[in-house]
């Protein structure tokens, strides 16, 4: 197995950029309103707390996938295979995933849970990424999977406001997928429905 980890290819500058990105993070108006409304959950009884617990599990699963997407884009951005303006696009999409991850982690905390930590290392099939198209194809796979993951999570979230935020993230990731497909010369929107 000749795979590697994002840490192996992550430069100090990239790491600094990642951290400064967090500093610049701002929640969307929807997320702010949502998160403000969650404060009372710390005070409520067992029924709502149990519901919040279910949602914490779901949000943490989404958070883990977002953290992995951030790491994957880092591998792509530092691979030397992406040329501008595709490189800028990848960095922008990574920024979106960072915003998703921060919003999800903040919400998990507000619900009384512990946000899942990013892994110390991720393993990606870097030996198969030899061209810009390979990187874009890999990113498109992840984004397509993310759309399905959110589609599978939204119906089981107990809090409908959280479901709205998850749907908002789904929309963003579906746009990523479409743009990546377009960049690969594929029909950007392959079908009327996504599952």
């Amino acid at each position: 197995m000749s795979s590697t980890t994002p840490q192996a290819s992550t430069t100090t500058d990239a790491r600094r950029s990642f951290l400064s990105g967090f500093g610049k993070f701002t929640l969307s108006a929807t997320a702010v309103a949502l998160l403000a409304g969650r404060d009372r959950l710390a005070l409520v009884g067992s029924a709502e707390a149990k519901t919040a617990g279910n949602d914490v599990t779901i949000l943490n699963a989404a958070l883990a996938a977002e953290q992995e997407a951030i790491a994957a884009y880092q591998v792509g951005a530092t691979s030397g295979l992406l040329q501008k303006p595709v490189l800028d696009l990848a960095v922008q999409f990574q920024g979106h995933h960072k915003e998703h991850a921060t919003a999800l982690a903040t919400t998990v905390k507000k619900l009384g849970g512990t946000p899942v930590a990013a892994k110390a290392k991720y393993t990606f099939p870097v030996e198969k990424l030899k061209t810009q198209a390979d990187v874009l194809g890999f990113a498109a796979e992840l984004e397509r999977g993310a759309v399905s993951a959110y589609l599978g999570a939204i119906p089981i979230l107990d809090d409908r406001e959280l479901a709205k935020v998850a749907a908002s993230i789904l929309g963003d990731e579906a746009m990523h997928w479409a743009v990546l497909r377009q960049a690969l010369g594929q029909p950007p929107v392959p079908s009327a429905f996504v599952s």
Binding site: F124, L142, G145, G152, P155, I156
Partner: protein
Amino acid sequence: MKLPFALFIGLTLGASLCQAADGDAGKGAQIYQRCLACHSLEHNRSGPRHCGLFGRPAAAVPDFTYSQALKSAGLTWDAATLDRFLENPLKAVPGTKMAYAGIKNGQERADLIAYLKQATHDPAKCPQGSSH
């Protein structure tokens, strides 16, 4: 002559039902794309790798951290247990970290399971060492 005809009809019907239950690995490959945010065949992601899945006890990939619920489930992955789990993971194993509503269409599950069976036995997709 009526009995052989009835036998023929029965065998034909049985064969077509078996065909449906077996699933179509080609269609399953498309369905597997839904799983790629969290899983891959060869590598652990936020979900465990799938190489070596069939016949493996649940929660047994050594370098992956599972929920206590899945560790205690006492499942071994085969077509039947996967079918039940994939239909509604949270109902099949309450407390699992696989926060996904499930694949409600039985034929889609059969197709996905057929793909997983084929792919996890393909040395090109699951090279030696990836199936533990």
